[in-house]
């Protein structure tokens, strides 16, 4: 892995400035009031964050996955919730760029990359999570249309998004019977559940998306019938690296807060940082984050170069980084004592936000399943 380029330094500086100005003063309030800042997301869009690794033809920034890791780390160091939503949006934007035809890309990508039109990724269902190949939502062909019926669960941005990338069943062939379609907001029969009450990620809406005889043209299908599962999994490879980078950023913020606090807090006749067991704790946290950063960069490079072990490296990086991010944030809360438990100090929000990263984009148990199966297959 190579050192950062001057351009990457400039990007990190810009994202850090943006996050400090546009996010930092508001994160606590957005969390408390469950406010989804679509205006700030549109501002992020003007800076190129709506299609980070989407081609430049339709408004994307044409950057690499390694660049994306740096960008998501910086955003999440200020607000993991907003960073994670931008990560999901980028996953959808990339899937349309990678698997859409030229008409679809020209029609959908300009608004998506500008983030004036937000997106949602719809895979999970009320009864189908980790076993994605078992999804039940149906699309039935009717002339030049599909008629969609079913419900999607835990959908980020639902109700606000302009576009829903939905995995539907077009044939009873397990994972080979799944198809990806794009449903625009406002289509008759499309409705949303209540905004879920959640532990973290409160500044982005999570709702059920309900499809009742939703009719969309066949031309809204990405790729061919039966391609959906492959498209969903390819999107998730990048999604896993990005969400790992969000955990890294949140964890780094927690570590930095802890170091500052231990240096300042006096107890037993000196600053707490003089206690060697606390210093060792800082060392452990820092090491776990650096291991995560290394794994994420390696996975990002694999995505960029199309390496044969991409799936494994993305799963490993997601597992390592999201476990590390949560552990570091939780430990940082402990190091802050009672103050860590107060919202004002920002630690408890990091813990709440980072907890879900161990569950979504494929739970960490599924990451172990992927890694384990690949390891066994190799022998």
């Amino acid at each position: 892995m190579t050192a950062r380029t001057d351009e990457q330094d400039a990007m990190v500086e810009m994202v850090r400035d943006f996050a400090a100005n546009a996010l930092a003063p508001h994160t606590a309030e957005w969390d408390e009031n469950k406010h989804f800042p679509v205006d700030v997301l549109a501002e992020a869009g003007t800076l190129g964050m709506g299609g980070i690794y989407v081609g430049e033809e339709h408004g994307g920034s044409g950057l690499s996955r390694s660049d994306a890791v740096l960008i998501f780390e910086e955003l999440a160091a200020v607000d993991p919730t907003i960073a994670a939503y931008i990560s999901i949006h980028n996953m959808v934007a990339w899937m349309i760029d990678a698997f859409g035809n030229s008409e679809q890309r020209a029609a959908w990508l300009p608004g998506i990359t500008a983030m004036t039109e937000l997106t949602s990724y719809c895979l999970s269902e009320p009864g189908v999570g980790s076993d994605a190949a078992a999804l039940t939502m149906r699309a039935v062909r009717d002339g030049d249309d599909y008629i969609l019926n079913g419900t999607k669960q835990f959908i980020s941005g639902a109700g606000t998004s302009a576009w829903y990338l939905v995995m539907v069943r077009t044939a009873d062939l397990g994972s080979r019977g799944i198809t990806a379609v794009v449903v625009p907001a406002g289509t008759p029969g499309l409705s949303f559940g209540a905004n879920e009450k959640k532990m973290g990620w409160r500044a982005q809406p999570t709702r059920q998306v309900v499809f009742e005889d939703v009719r969309i043209p066949v031309s809204n299908r990405l790729g061919e019938e039966g391609d959906g599962f492959g498209i969903a999994m390819k999107g998730l490879n990048g999604g896993r690296v990005n969400i790992g980078a969000c955990s890294l950023g949140g964890g780094r913020a927690a570590l930095e807060k802890s170091i500052a606090y231990l240096k300042e807090r006096q107890a037993f006749g000196g600053p707490l940082i003089d206690k060697q067991h606390l210093l060792f704790e800082i060392a452990q946290m820092d090491t776990e984050l650096e291991v995560s950063r290394t794994m994420l960069m390696r996975a990002a490079e694999a995505l960029d170069t199309g390496a044969p072990d991409t799936v494994k490296l993305c799963a490993m990086a997601k597992l390592v980084a999201t476990d590390a991010g949560f552990r570091v944030a939780n430990q940082a809360l402990q190091l802050h004592g009672g103050y860590g438990y107060l919202s004002e100090y920002g630690l408890e929000k990091l813990v709440r936000d980072l907890r879900v990263h161990q569950i979504l984009e494929g739970s960490n148990e599924i990451m172990r399943l992927i890694v384990g199966r690949l390891a066994v297959e190799r022998q």
Partner: protein, 255 residues
């Protein structure tokens, strides 16, 4: 329209800023260097003209050591078209007078309709360089504007004074400076960052500007650290505290 924007690289105000004891020069290693925020506002003013009229050309000009190239690159990533970097070891420790003469010499080759600058830098805070540049070039100085309108061969804008505000204008070409109340600078976007390295930057030495390597006339003889803050005056209310407080505010022109 062609707009030249003066850019100065200064130490980050969020960090410790110190002088080198022996020379009285800025200790560049002590803090990260960045484009002075007030210059970014001047650049923003220029870029807004360019947003409205794509034929506008924005040139940024900086005088400084090697590292100032980074400041020029930042300005290019925000949207400026090209840069000029006056780089010469003989300029280390240049005073305001010398700096203005060098900048003016560099500007003579630019033929800009407008020279935009910040009203004063956050490090030196002399606030005299733009006026001196205007004098060298024989141009009017329209200084300290809170808002700037450029077009139709004139510059106009609003300037604050102690007692009110003035609407001022001048025919172009002119030197214009902006205050912290002018438009907040944009962030560079990713595309701007990637294209910045492909934009032209001309490096000029004193010889190329046909200027002699004369030493600065103003030098720092001595300097001392800012004394630690002392506790303020406490007023105990004996019935006249209100009057005393009002007196303090009036005396220090705080109201």
């Amino acid at each position: 329209m062609k707009i030249a924007v003066l850019i100065k690289q200064v130490p980050d105000t969020a960090e410790e800023r110190t002088l080198v004891p022996a020379t009285g020069w800025l200790d560049r290693a002590a803090a990260d260097s960045l484009v002075d925020e007030i210059n970014e506002r001047a650049l923003e003013t220029a870029l807004q003209v360019k947003d409205a009229d794509k034929s506008t050309e924005v040139v940024v000009l900086a005088m400084g050591p090697e590292e100032a190239a980074k400041a020029i690159r930042k300005a290019l990533s925000m949207g400026a078209d090209s840069g000029i970097h006056v780089l010469d070891g003989g300029l280390a420790g240049a005073d305001a007078r010398r700096t203005a003469a060098v900048l003016a010499a560099a500007l003579r080759g630019v033929n800009a309709d407008v020279v935009l600058a910040g009203n004063e830098s956050t490090d030196g805070r002399g606030g005299v360089v733009p006026a001196m540049v205007a004098e060298h070039l024989g141009l009017p100085l329209v200084g300290g504007l809170n808002s700037v309108e450029l077009g139709g061969g004139t510059v106009c804008g609003e300037r604050s004074s102690d007692t009110g505000s003035l609407n001022v204008s001048a025919p172009l070409p002119a030197v214009v400076t902006v205050t912290e109340r002018s438009a907040e600078a944009r962030f560079p976007n990713f595309k701007g960052i990637l294209t910045a390295k492909r934009k032209p930057v001309t490096t000029l030495s004193l010889a190329e500007l046909e200027l002699p390597a004369t030493p600065a006339r103003a030098v720092v003889l001595a300097h001392s650290e800012r004394p630690p803050r002392e506790a303020g005056r406490k007023i105990t209310d004996d019935g006249t505290a209100g009057t005393q407080l009002a007196g303090f505010l009036i005396e220090n022109r705080l109201v």
